[in-house]
Symmetry: C2
Subunit: 340 residues, 2 copies
DNA sequence: ACTATTTGCTAAAACGTTTTACCATGATTA
DNA sequence: TAATCATGGTAAAACGTTTTAGCAAATAGT
């Protein structure tokens, strides 16, 4: 039953050469002086035997496994940042690498275990990925394995990939401005005065800065700003429900899609049509955004591109320090109409 | 800079013993005759040096990597079946294993590449996971690595984990029956006559069989059955929109949550309240189910449990053939009221 | 015609474990 | 007293590669 693995020695024997020769030929070493015939024989032998190199043995010798670790807090086990995995997976496959998934649940004990597990297995590099970009803790790492932070930053690790939230903020405002909205714009999810002094993560701050600076440079202002600490559908629904009792906004700029999702329901219950009565623009490009009717126009987090970028940077040994900002992608759907 | 890895030989040297002794002690071999002092010395040495075994070397010798491959068609890169990963990840961690993710996009070329990549890396087992359970193709595998099919079946692989769709179908009907619905129940997504002879996957057939047999044994019947090949929100919306022009159902049994999602919107636009006017029950426990207002009562696919079960079975070498049916889990939310 | 150089290849060490076989030494038994 | 056995350990082989150093034959240089 148990097929004996075919080894390099088998190939060499069949080809009538030494294992050294076989090794050099199969790994495609450049400056070797083996004859064309030798090459042919070895390749043929390898093909007929169906030879596959034993990566454990190779790893032992070369310290390279063509395996990367993807250590995330909540990425693999929730739907957030699924695109990160998609991108990372695709890019590693293209690079002939394989991804090892480890989840830490944001828990330090799990983090150390995950890191140990990865390093024990001699991974060529580690991607640390986080649901919400932020400055992040990490257990100190003794090994000098390559690392990149995906959607997060950490001073121990000088390579980071982040979404360009500032640019995203600008884009969102531009969308409304270009649709000729000049007033009646409500910001849903943040109020500058109310939240004075409260800490928002760096990435959210960038998003807000982008929004506010673009508003100013377009000569616009919000008619109202509705504050909410949590950006869940529930909050969007309640805030809008209450707000609609006395006001009729023309456009909603929602801090994320989940708030927008809640707002949709409140608007619908108030008999308001999107986009005829109210336009809505938002952030993240959550999966729900496409399901809503009409489709939600939103400035998408470029998760897939970020995932790809992470492995690209990780594999490029020349890069030793860099902070990459990946552009956010406006997803134009049906929720923004034109102002009168 | 580059810290030299601390090796077993270092530990042995510090402990004043041979590597053989150190190895035996650290791997916790049972029937060795090394003294308690030897044990103590080795453990201490290992601790002070921070020794971590080189798994490549160990794998080379023992052919065990404590690594499993999770090869899926679209699981890792979409939000479907995220629970499968969650369960598999948790279970492998508990078992001291690590998961290697590979995605095939349902494409045979990717499948062979993924399988090769996994086997090259000497994984201890492979989980093949699929978004929709079905009989599934696989490139023939020469290696005699352990395999399990997760949410799918294949004759080459006699171990499979599947959701108990039949039982799920029964549960859904029971939910309505127990709420005293006796008539006005509409089935959304399937019509026995219209779809006569059309092929649905085995798992969907089981779901339908469960539904229909429980209906019969409860003495119930559907007042209407609305056929739709694709079960997307769009379809649910359109079907219900049209149906509501002439009819007023009391309860909706939706074939999945996405249909239900569409139906919600149609009901809302028709001014019907859930659950006061219409009760809704559905299948899958998609993430949207919890977001809807009111929360959607649905018979959940037990993805997490299935994922756990997959690694449990994979790691239990005694099991050589088995088909596990994992019970579906009714998620009671607010969408089912009581019949008058 | 002898010494260098190139050509084409191989032997053997090394990577870090696990495991088998064996070796002292002292205690027990016959 | 000699043979046996238990005790506590070690030496060395093996796993399958990669890589360094080197060897013999052929070619080139003087």
């Amino acid at each position: 039953m148990s097929k004996k693995r075919v080894t390099l020695a088998d190939v060499a024997r069949l080809a009538g050469l030494s294992t050294s020769a076989a090794s050099m030929i199969l790994t495609g070493r450049p400056d070797t002086r083996l004859s064309p015939e030798a090459h042919a024989k070895v390749h043929e032998a390898a093909a007929t035997l169906g030879y596959r190199p034993n990566m454990a043995a190779r790893a032992l010798r070369t310290d390279k496994t063509r395996t990367l670790a993807f250590i995330s807090d909540h990425i693999a086990t929730t739907r957030y940042g699924n695109g990160l995995i998609r991108g990372a997976l695709a890019a590693s496959e293209e690079a002939g690498h394989v991804l090892m998934m480890l989840e830490t649940y944001g828990d330090p004990a799990h983090e150390t275990r995950a890191i140990d597990a990865a390093i024990d297995r001699q991974v060529d590099g580690i991607i640390f990925a986080f649901v919400r970009s932020r400055e992040v803790f990490l257990p100190s790492i003794t090994s000098n394995v390559r690392m990149v932070m995906l959607n997060g930053t950490n001073r121990q690790c000088p390579i980071a990939i982040l979404p360009d939230e500032y640019q995203g903020g600008c884009e969102a405002v531009s969308l409304l401005a270009d649709a000729n909205f000049t007033d009646g714009i409500v910001l849903l999810g943040h109020n500058a005065e109310v939240e004075e002094g409260l800490f928002r993560s760096g990435t959210i701050l960038s998003r807000l800065n982008g929004i506010r600076s673009e508003m100013v440079s377009r000569g616009l202002g919000f008619v109202d700003e509705l504050s909410s600490w949590n950006w869940e559908p529930e909050n969007g629904y309640k805030l809008m429900k209450k707000y609609l009792k006395n006001s009729r906004p023309k456009a909603l700029l929602c801090m994320n899609d989940r708030l927008a999702f809640g707002a949709y329901q409140a608007l619908s219950e108030a008999g308001l049509k999107i986009p005829e009565d109210v336009s809505v623009v938002s952030f993240d490009n959550d999966e729900i955004a496409a399901y809503l009717r009409p489709g939600l126009t939103t400035i998408g987090l470029p998760h897939e591109a970020m995932g790809r970028e992470a492995v690209r940077v990780l594999l490029d040994e020349k890069i030793v320090e860099s902070e990459t900002l990946v552009a956010m992608e406006p997803m134009i759907r049906g929720s923004v109409g034109g102002a009168d």
